[in-house]
Symmetry: C2
Subunit: 199 residues, 2 copies
Amino acid sequence: MPRPAKFIRTEAIASALQVFWQRGYHATSLKDLETALSMRPGSIYAAFGSKEGLFDEVLSHYAERSLTSLREKLLNRPSAMQGLREYLYSLANLGEREPAERACMLVKTLLELATTEPQLSARADAYLASMENLFCEVFMAAMQQNELEKGADPRFLAQQLQVAIFGLRIFSQRQTSPLRVRLLTEQIANQFTRVDKIA
Amino acid sequence: MPRPAKFIRTEAIASALQVFWQRGYHATSLKDLETALSMRPGSIYAAFGSKEGLFDEVLSHYAERSLTSLREKLLNRPSAMQGLREYLYSLANLGEREPAERACMLVKTLLELATTEPQLSARADAYLASMENLFCEVFMAAMQQNELEKGADPRFLAQQLQVAIFGLRIFSQRQTSPLRVRLLTEQIANQFTRVDKIA
DNA sequence: GACTTTATTGAGCAATCATTCAAGAAAGAG
DNA sequence: CTCTTTCTTGAATGATTGCTCAATAAAGTC
């Protein structure tokens, strides 16, 4: 079989992610993508079908990557609460990251495309639901490990946690000092993994 | 002096707000605005200068309106904490509102335009800082009224509160049941106006 | 009524948008 | 090498973008 594709799909998607994450869906033009991917329009369309198709694949890639990373940090840990704590602390440097990549891309997509591209927004929503479910599993594991009181409501805690992370990542987009973001992160980590939550 | 403008500026801005809030800045075309405002391009440009100028005025209008409403609810109250509690409970129905208007427009703007229109994003940021300051005043008043312990950090509490509201309003954009949003809202209200915070 | 001043109109502008496709280039198979 | 298959190219597509401006309409002043 002749002529393998010159571009590497995963690299193209990683480049496209960067552009879409920073500029958003509507403000990203095909010209932007041509530059970022070093591909000509024909190749992009041959490979991904459309701008929407490319975005869709980028979104999946981002979400799967995020979910995989979360699972590694949170599941099958000797102490679920310790894993959660470490994950939350990994957000402490949010204020020092690339500004346009501080907010979660799923959230940015959920907001930007709610009206204009509801199917893409719905896909982002579905991935966020998976993340909530993952948090729920963590709290259930913590209950089994006696790190969380028996009467706790893991679903509710998972949603509370997601609210806190949503808010933190939005806040980190504001032009405040990275230190304030760090302090807020630590407060959240303490709130959700506090000693007095232990049975 | 002859021929007064037929359109009413505040009404035009209110209509433009609805379109921009729902579709975002980049996905709103001049055709969308012509339809919403019932104005022809020439009139729009005579009145507002440019799409960016119109958006800027819309953003100011939204922010001033929000700030005024917040001040009414939160300042000069016999009990600052009671005012805060009532404000937070007013968010309990977020899950039943127009989907694309559940998230704060300032936040949507901060995220969407961070890279592509940094001056508009910065304006949204500045208004969010005013809101944080307002929250800070509320907590200071609560301390003076002995509704909050003397050692409390009003600035930190204000930022925590903003994080919670950011997160809640994003979460309410997800396709979850309005009841869950209500429960989360009540939890936040209790967290920030809890009895054991009182000195 | 005539005059002045401003608002409104909408056709039309260049630029950009996402997308297509015929032609050419590249690489393995024989 | 030739052949076949696939990938890449980039000019060109029609639609849409934000925006302009000369012509027209409307309202107060005199």
